[in-house]
């Protein structure tokens, strides 16, 4: 199972109901293949940076789902077939998320160590007088 992010652009003249219908359809594509949809985000209409199929703006929709790699193939095929979708982009994000989490953990650990190491010589006298126990390590 991998985590994917799918950003696609729907024609600006599509109605709200049509878009909702499309979203439901794409959700079912993922769930029937044994994956889970984690997040669906409608960005609304945005100006495109360049013209795509004669359209200057489009409605962006962001999907985040967990599934097997084969599901993405089917998902992309559906998007290609659908005449409402003018552009799409699939990004695999599980490794990026893992990397970011590790970065954050390392950073927190370093900050924690710094916090415990630095005030140690100065703090105990005050803290012991006040509470009778060592200064709190965190923060």
């Amino acid at each position: 199972m991998r985590i994917y992010e799918e950003l696609f652009i729907v024609k600006p003249d599509a109605t709200e109901e049509e878009i909702d219908q499309l979203i439901e359809q794409m959700k079912s594509v993922v769930t029937t293949a044994g994956g889970t949809v984690d997040k669906v985000d409608k960005w609304g209409k945005r100006r495109l940076a360049y013209r795509v199929d004669k359209y200057r703006e489009g409605a962006y929709i962001l999907f985040q789902f967990t599934s097997a790699p084969e599901t993405v193939k089917e998902f992309e095929r559906r998007l290609r077939v659908s005449d409402m979708v003018i552009k799409f982009l699939t990004v695999r994000i599980d490794e990026t998320l893992k990397r970011l989490e590790k970065r954050k953990k390392d950073r927190d650990k370093r900050a924690h160590r710094k916090a415990t190491a630095a005030p140690a010589p100065a703090q105990p006298s005050v803290a012991q007088q006040m509470l009778g126990e060592p200064a709190p390590a965190a923060e």
């Binding site: 950003l7 652009i9 360049y50 795509v52 962001l62 552009k87 982009l89 990004v91 950073r107």
Partner: protein, 99 residues
């Protein structure tokens, strides 16, 4: 214009090139130290959806600003490149902007 300011030596040979050289006639070799914005602000995630961040690293014409000008460090520039190219693909950023 911007290139001549960033490259060493060129400012000395052509004093009229950059605005810095005009401002300080004698200290022509003075250049501010550039720092990587992502390192300083601790931005771990260079995401292709963050158009506002990315657009500060593309030039007027839509080109990616080289790191000798922007001062971004190599690892971050690599991720920035990836992000900008993804954003271009989905029409968040232009391939070539018209002026």
């Amino acid at each position: 214009m911007a290139e001549s300011r960033g490259r060493p030596g060129s400012a000395g040979q052509r004093p009229t090139g950059g605005d810095k050289a005009v401002a300080t006639q004698k200290k022509q070799y003075f250049r501010r130290k550039k720092v990587c914005r992502f390192c300083v602000e601790r931005i771990d995630d260079i995401n292709y959806k963050d158009v506002r961040l990315l657009s500060s690293f593309i030039a007027e014409r839509g080109k990616i600003v080289p790191r000798r000008i922007s001062g971004v460090c190599a690892p971050h520039q690599r991720r920035l490149n990836d992000a900008i190219k993804k954003a271009r693909n989905i029409a968040l950023l232009p391939f070539a902007a018209s002026i």
